[in-house]
């Protein structure tokens, strides 16, 4: 790796898509479909990177039958604290239905069920994302892999591109674009949950610097069950599990869905074991076929999860399986900043999930739907700008936060590893993040705000660490938006649990918008009347 500064690669495109998971891939394809020139950059590799690529993914696919759709929309409404919006759910169900048929036409090998036709309820991540990469290329999109975006560019008209670096060649790049889609996924704080270590909230920081707002950042307490050693945070199969104390007694009430907090409370005191003993012989083979890498972990350690008890823990997944993210202001998934769009986990998923995890089907449907709309919207926006769209003399936005895109070489500066550990110490512990209180959140925020100020003085890159200064800053910023929002919601709703306000409060039936860099702010935003009559009446 040469250390001398290389000349930057300079490119132009109508639309720049940042992130190449499902949201980014769909965005790129849809933008190209509008006739726009498109570049997609990914921190890793479009096709293997992000939360979808490594694993089986259930999809919120529901046939367009009135009763089925109605049931689907209402199934999580209350769990989500009645914050989801029916028109958005309907749009997503429609778009997902369409997109799933599209990938069938592109050759995705859906299984055939007993009806004799394809079953669209899930996709295998490696297969799906390999196909999406091919389609992105086929659409004429230029892909830059191993090329994280570090900051957005803008001028007085709005966002105008981004710049970053190729991590393999160390060549910087600068792409001028008339519109930018942020599809960088969520933030899982380097917890090693499957496929998430590329997801450090970079898009949130970049959007924050551009003046975009966030919504639902308090709904960021997703923890997934894993065998204690394993990265494979696939929780669905634990519906077949019984959970045990060390001495073999069953933990009453523990479960993968509603009973997860009991597991967390037990884990604060003692180890927890699981065994998939509710799965009888006939379903075991199907489970293996549904989630090959879930079983890979067990097979390689010679554990039979159907007959052996194995220790489990809960791995934090942050906003990846939470629902908070960049606030979008219209049906094209535009943010309030002209030329800036957001899709997938980078965007808020409250519109279809409310405050309860989008994992297990909704997030994947949202990624492909919002990806599609943002790409289409960004392309239309770009093409309207006419021939002047590249003569913009735009500058980098990292100066708005003061978090440099370069590592600091001074030994006296805080290091990337130190920041990672300090942020993880605030967001991983169940008794800080899952079971929240005014006292705990305030104390965490005090430390995180202090850390933010220190980061602004410069961050030293640890020898041999891939994670950069901007990534650790993004994690810190994300934690601050999460906890300020968590502090402002003085009730328990959706996945947000306040030990000091254990009840839902009808007077707080609103979304929380947040933003700001040095000074984080949070304000209520009343959702439009979305048919949640029950609470509307109470409020």
């Amino acid at each position: 790796m040469s250390k001398e500064a290389k000349e930057a690669l300079k490119l132009q495109a109508d639309v720049l898509v940042i992130g190449g998971g499902p949201a980014g891939a769909w965005a790129a394809i849809a933008a190209a479909g509008q006739g726009a020139s498109v570049i997609l950059v990914d921190k890793g590799y479009c096709g293997t990177s992000g939360a979808t690529a490594p694993s089986g993914t259930a999809i919120w696919y529901v046939k367009p039958e009135e009763q089925a759709r109605e049931n689907a929309m209402m199934s999580r409404m209350d769990m989500g604290g009645n914050l989801a919006e029916r028109p958005w759910m309907q749009r997503v169900l429609d778009r997902t239905y369409h997109n799933m048929h599209q990938i069938r036409d592109w050759g995705y090998p859906f299984p055939i069920d007993e009806t004799g036709g394809p079953n669209y309820i899930s996709v295998q991540g490696p297969e799906y994302m390999r196909l999406m990469r091919k389609r992105v290329q086929k659409a004429g999109v230029r892909i830059l892999d191993h090329s994280p975006a570090l900051e957005l560019l803008s001028d007085s008209h709005g966002v105008a591109g981004a710049s970053g670096i190729n991590e393999q060649t160390r060549q910087p790049w600068r792409i001028e674009a008339a519109a930018v889609v942020i599809a960088t996924g969520g933030c899982a704080f380097l917890s090693k949950a499957l496929g998430t270590n590329v997801l450090t909230g970079d898009g949130y920081l970049m959007a924050g610097e551009a003046g975009a707002e966030f919504s639902g950042m308090e709904f960021s307490t997703a923890y997934a069950i894993v065998p204690y050693f394993s990265p494979v945070t696939k929780t669905a199969l634990y519906q077949f599990a019984t959970f045990y104390y060390e001495d073999g007694r069953v933990i009453e009430g523990a479960g993968s869905r509603r009973g997860r907090s009991i597991i967390a409370k037990t884990l604060l005191k003692e180890p927890v074991y699981a065994r998939l003993d509710k799965a009888d012989e006939s379903i075991r083979q199907s489970m293996r076929k549904a989630q090959p890498n879930f079983f890979l972990s067990f097979d390689r350690l010679k554990i039979d999860p159907f007959t052996d008890k194995f220790p489990v823990t809960l791995r934090f997944e942050g906003t990846v399986r939470g629902t908070g993210g960049i606030n979008i202001v219209d049906e094209t998934c535009a943010t309030k900043v002209p030329g800036l769009y957001a899709a997938g986990d980078a965007a808020t998923r409250e519109l279809i999930c409310g405050g309860f995890t989008g994992g297990g089907s909704h997030n994947a449907a949202w990624a492909m739907s919002s990806g599609y709309w943002s790409g289409e919207g960004a392309a239309q926006f770009a093409l309207k700008q006419g021939t002047n769209r590249f003569n913009r003399n735009a500058r980098g936005l990292s100066e708005f936060s003061g978090v440099s895109t370069q590592a600091d070489s001074s030994k006296s500066k805080i290091s990337t590893d130190e920041v990672i550990r300090l942020v993880q110490d605030e967001v991983f512990p169940y008794d800080r993040n899952w079971f929240r209180s005014e006292q705990g959140l305030t104390a965490s925020l005090g430390r995180l705000n202090q850390l933010w100020l220190e980061i602004k003085q410069g961050v030293r890159a640890d020898e041999g660490s891939r994670v950069g200064a901007r990534e650790v800053a993004a994690m810190t910023a994300t934690a601050r938006w999460m906890y300020e929002s968590g502090l402002a919601r003085r009730e328990t709703r959706g996945m947000h649990v306040r030990t000091d306000y254990p009840e839902r409060d009808a007077a707080q039936h609103y979304r929380l918008i947040s933003g700001g860099l040095d000074q984080v702010w949070v304000k209520p935003h009343t959702a439009p009347n979305n048919g949640n009559a029950e609470e509307a009446v109470q409020a």
């Binding site: 293997t48 090693k192 199969l237």
Partner: protein
């Protein structure tokens, strides 16, 4: 964590260098690539799927390094076992078409 890059099997195609999302491998001129940044491995198993000759082995242990012997892994038929289970590679059929998630979800719902 990625633990094995089999010098015996590797054909220097550098697919692993290209596709690893966290840039763990390093290309080496006129030689096979090396595992250059093991601690950056996120244990996603993707490199195993993209290696055309089953030269890579990832232990399911996400948090720690654990020495494993290539011969033992071969003996246990684990080198390439993931690629085989998803049905990637010459002469195989993707097992995505055998995905029985729909059955699993249906029964899970009935069980709970």
């Amino acid at each position: 964590m990625i633990e094995i890059l089999s010098a015996e099997r590797c054909i220097s195609c550098n697919q692993c260098v290209r596709i690893c999302p966290t840039n763990v491998f390093q290309e080496v001129e006129n030689d096979i690539p090396i595992i250059a940044r093991q601690s950056d491995c996120q244990t996603c198993f993707m490199c195993e799927l993209y290696c055309p000759v089953d030269a890579l082995y990832v232990t399911p242990n996400a948090d720690g390094i654990e020495k494993v012997e290539e011969s033992a892994v071969i003996e246990d038929r684990l080198l390439g076992s993931y690629r085989e289970s998803v049905g990637w590679g010459k002469g195989r059929k993707s097992t995505a078409s055998d995905d029985e998630s729909f059955l699993v979800f249906r029964i899970a719902r009935a069980t709970n």
